[in-house]
């Protein structure tokens, strides 16, 4: 069965978040949003999904604060963050490149990362671009640190990093990423060449599993309609949903 790169990433992320109670997804995140909705579908509705972007699948009624209050209480199990830069200790930078405040490149800003990264148990780092420009030895600005000392309340943190080349897990004790699998058509050498930080490479690195037929069929029949309520342009581009007469 053929599949698009977006469908591949959606299925890869969905596998990482199986068996959890509540997945929340931030703004402008169609791929994580689709993965969360797919996981809800696969769980038979046992997993709750809250998309803060738009009205659909958005349960919050107490304003912008509610997502954070909810997460602070431990009511959210999974959240997604990205980064203009991500380093080998899983520090993320959403502010800019250069010596703050005299930046050379400015990104939009940290959003809720400096809080969500601390309190949500499983944070999935998702950034499609896998280059030395993004995956750097040390971020120029820490929007949110990957790990914290023992005297800082930190029930949450990074679980995994998904890019368009590979899947890595993060060991919070060792403060080190580990290459879990390489996406089909790519090599370990290619991952090393395009990663600016050190990470663990096991002796045998498997290929990231292909999307199975069940997931693809659910994506194309159910999830495409559901995600179109939040991201119509994405749904049309990836699934052709909405373009049919």
């Amino acid at each position: 069965m053929t599949y698009s790169s977006e469908e591949f990433l959606i299925c890869t992320i969905a596998r990482l978040i199986s068996g959890v109670g509540h997945i929340a997804v931030g703004a402008a995140s169609p791929i994580p949003g689709s993965a969360a909705l797919l996981q809800r579908e696969l769980s038979g509705g046992n997993t709750r999904v809250s998309l803060i972007h738009g009205q659909a699948n958005n349960p919050f009624s107490d304003g912008g604060r509610e997502l954070f209050d909810c997460a602070g209480q431990g009511r959210i199990d999974v959240f997604f963050l990205g980064g203009g830069q991500i380093d080998g200790e899983a520090n993320i930078n959403l502010v800019g490149v250069g010596s703050y405040p005299n930046l050379k490149v400015r990104f939009p800003g940290s959003f809720g990362s400096a809080y969500m990264y601390f309190v949500v148990p499983k944070v999935i780092l998702f950034r499609e671009e896998h280059t030395r420009r993004v995956l750097v030895p040390k971020v120029d600005f820490i929007s949110a640190p990957g790990t914290s000392p023992d005297d800082v309340y930190r029930p949450g943190g990074p679980q995994a990093l998904v890019t368009n080349l590979a899947l890595m897990s993060f060991d919070r004790q060792r403060r080190l990423f580990r290459l879990e699998s390489v996406h089909p058509g790519h090599t370990v050498e290619e991952i090393c060449d395009n990663t600016g930080f050190e990470f663990d490479i096991p002796e045998n690195v498997p290929v990231t599993p292909l999307p199975d037929a069940d997931c693809l069929s659910r994506l194309r029949s159910v999830i495409c309609q559901e995600i179109a309520k939040t991201y119509p342009t994405f749904a049309e581009r990836v699934f052709g949903f909405g373009s049919l007469p």
Binding site: G109, A114, F141, S143, P149
Partner: protein, 278 residues
């Protein structure tokens, strides 16, 4: 309440240098009032994005109205980066106070409660905290197991502004589930609102609307401004004009393009209405 003010009256009621609380693009954005502020050549505004800035804040920055900005982020969402914000930060044309969403919500909650600060988890080890000398880290004084914790000073905006679908004839304003607007209004010294329309009756008299209503006690003035959020949507009421926002995102990348956009769209509201309806 006084007789209904025009957008220009409301813009005149926001003094230069004021600390202005401004809603995010997923909420009820006062774009008409924003254009009026640009028309009156407001200067030295200190903007507080609650908690994220969008197109309106980008336009104010590009028009030279802003001295300082506190925000968790500024972006045009799916239309991409906010070009005038990006340029102004890189040029040092504005003072940027980087924050994070729940820190802004919490600092406003401190003002709502009339307490001087609010504690918040997270933040420690972040360069956001490292660049905010007024944010204070203490050991959990109650030994409740939280370790070190950050205290955020209360933020008291001088003025909160937003655009709502409707208000009633008693001066109560409908905000629905956009409760950050209530937080802004509770925390601010003054709140100026524009609405699509004034409806007869009293929203607080009906239990089905009372819970989504900002009571008149927090609201200083209400002006009627049809399409007052355009081109941003009013969630639940009006969809955004995405094509227009994308076109702005491209045009505002250059100085000439931005000036051209502003000269076409920051005219009197009557002329603008013709553009919106066409």
């Amino acid at each position: 309440m006084q007789a209904q003010p025009t957008l220009d009256d409301l813009a005149a009621a926001i003094p230069d240098g004021a600390l202005v609380a401004y809603p995010p693009d997923y909420s009820f954005v006062p774009m008409g009032l924003t254009r009026a502020l640009i028309r009156r050549q407001a200067r030295g505004l200190r903007l507080l994005a609650v908690p994220i800035g969008g197109m309106g804040i980008d336009m104010l920055i590009g028009s030279g109205c802003v001295a300082e900005l506190e925000a968790a982020a500024v972006s045009l969402g799916e239309a991409g980066p906010a070009p005038q914000f990006t340029k102004a930060v890189l040029n040092g044309a504005i003072v940027m106070r980087d924050s994070t969403c729940p820190a802004i919500h919490s600092a406003l909650q401190a003002s709502e409660k009339g307490v001087p600060f609010m504690p918040l988890s997270g933040l420690i080890g972040s360069d956001i905290l490292a660049n905010r000398p007024e944010w204070t880290v203490i050991d959990d004084p109650l030994r409740a197991g939280n370790g070190r914790i950050v205290l955020l000073p209360a933020i008291h905006p001088d003025v909160a502004i937003f655009h709502s679908p409707f208000a009633d004839s008693e001066g109560n304003v409908w905000i629905g589930r956009r409760r950050e607007l209530a937080t802004m209004a509770h925390a601010a010294k003054r709140t100026l609102v524009t609405v699509e329309e004034i409806r007869p009756g009293n929203l607080l008299a009906d239990e089905s609307t009372a819970g989504g209503t900002l009571p008149a006690l927090y609201v200083e003035q209400i002006g009627v401004a049809p399409n007052g959020a355009w081109p941003i949507g009013l969630p639940g009421y009006k969809i955004p004009n995405t094509k227009h926002i994308v076109a702005y995102a491209l045009q505002a990348k250059s100085k000439d393009g931005f000036q051209d956009y502003m000269s076409k769209h920051v005219l009197g509201e009557e002329q603008l209405m013709e553009i919106i309806s066409s």
